[in-house]
């Protein structure tokens, strides 16, 4: 049973650049949530996609955008990178929309902005 997979695992970017992170949900799941986690902190909710639409958004600027594809996979795009965007970006999948089932996480993409 394939779990949540994220790519790439690590990424180094320069301030001002743009980045795209990818996520494939756990088999059978149709909802994808993205989180940002700084060292020693809990996950911070970015947004959630269900039925190819953004259903809910956390307190993140519109430099953060996303997309969900018909096969339920998802992308997170971050434009005009800032040093403060350096973090572990986690994708979580679930079933049936907004928190209708427990979230299952991938192992994240470690983004470093220099």
């Amino acid at each position: 049973d394939a779990g949540v997979t994220q790519s790439p695992t690590h990424l180094i970017k320069t301030r001002g650049q743009q980045v795209t992170l990818r996520c494939s949900p756990k088999s059978g799941h149709d909802t994808v949530s993205w989180y940002q986690q700084a060292l020693g902190q809990g996950p911070q909710f970015i947004f959630q996609y269900y039925e190819e639409e953004e259903r809910q958004r956390g307190n993140f600027p519109d430099r953060f955008s996303g997309h969900q594809f018909p096969n339920y996979s998802s992308e997170l795009n971050v434009n005009a990178l800032l040093l403060g965007d350096s973090a572990l970006y986690l994708c979580a999948s679930s079933l049936g929309g907004l928190y209708r089932s427990p979230l299952h996480f991938g192992n994240g993409t470690r983004l470093t902005v220099t």
Binding site: V4, G40, Q41, G42, P43, Q44, F45, R55, Q56, L88, L90, A92, L98, Y99, P102, L103, H104, F105, G106, N107, G108, R110
Partner: protein, 112 residues
């Protein structure tokens, strides 16, 4: 304001020394409480969901309980491989207003 607080921030145990982690919450309309385990550099791993006061769930050396104000994660006779950060998250709201609030976690170290 809805809030989730985990204590202690860090805990160091000797192998076999049982203890409990606490997740207290001040929220309106609890819909569920989740426990996760997170190893360094990895994503959180789902452990338990609790929905109502009095509910208990067990998995190997872990047992989660829920009251109206807090949840406990009891670790019985821990082993070094139980070392990790344990996160709790509270779900509240209904319909399109559902949201999840996370605690900051308890970092557990079990010494052999």
């Amino acid at each position: 304001e809805d809030q989730v607080t985990q204590s202690p921030e860090a805990l160091r145990l000797q192998e076999g020394e049982s203890s409990s982690l606490n997740c207290s919450y001040t929220v309106s309309g609890l819909r569920g409480l989740f426990w996760y385990r997170q190893d360094p550099g990895k994503g959180p791993e789902f452990l338990f969901t609790l929905y109502s006061a009095g509910e208990e769930k067990e998995k190997e050396r872990l047992k989660a309980t829920l009251t109206k104000k807090e949840s406990f994660l009891h670790i019985t006779a821990p082993k070094p491989e139980d070392s990790a950060t344990y996160l709790c998250a509270v779900q509240l709201g209904a319909g399109n207003n559902r949201k999840l609030i996370w605690g900051l976690g308890t970092s557990l170290a079990v010494n052999p």
